[in-house]
Symmetry: C2
Subunit: 116 residues, 2 copies
């Protein structure tokens, strides 16, 4: 019987060959090959990462920072190539979340059993 790791590598290959991943890669390459889109997107990601780090460290995020982040999202989404990339990211994220839910089901069943 094939073991967990063999199946994990098969799954990795299937992800790599999926329409979802190929679509994301194409959208990402398009953005990276356009200097103005690339700069805008990297600026956006840096702001996102900064806020995520603050959140993880339990630091407060000011009203002003939230508004700044929201306005940056609005600006970058006007770039059609970035909007497409964000849409593809979301598609793949949904698939990855589904997959993660599938493979953690055995553990969830074990620990989630109602107690007698």
């Amino acid at each position: 019987m094939a073991n967990m790791y063999d199946h994990a590598y098969d799954l990795e290959k299937a992800i790599r060959e999926s329409e979802e991943f190929k679509g994301l890669k194409a959208a990402y390459d398009t953005v990276m090959n356009d200097p103005s889109s690339k700069e805008m997107f990297e600026n956006f990601r840096n702001i996102q990462l900064e806020l995520q780090q603050k959140q993880m460290q339990g630091q407060e995020i000011s009203e002003e920072e939230v508004q700044k982040a929201q306005s940056v999202v609005q600006v970058v989404q006007q770039d059609e190539q970035i909007a497409k990339l964000m849409e593809q990211e979301q598609r793949l994220n949904i698939a990855i979340n589904d997959i993660s839910r599938i493979i953690t089901k055995p553990l969830e069943e074990l620990y989630g059993q109602p107690e007698e």
Copy 2:
């Protein structure tokens, strides 16, 4: 070609049938079938969950709480059945982390490319 979801279900089955998961399940059932071990283990897990929630919410964890948690770990590990369960949990966690690293590799490669 089989799609991502088919492979995810195959992987789930392989996890369920793995020595790691079967060993964890056996150790878990042993603890759950022993009233004193069960109570001790559930008490320990509640304390763990409480601290994790505090951490995620960015609340401070006091020196006293850390010491309490550490002494509870020491106590529960004296219970051989619980010690065995914790060892099996760690074994499966290592496998799940490895698997997770394998299947997120395509994404990591895409976003982790060094910028020119």
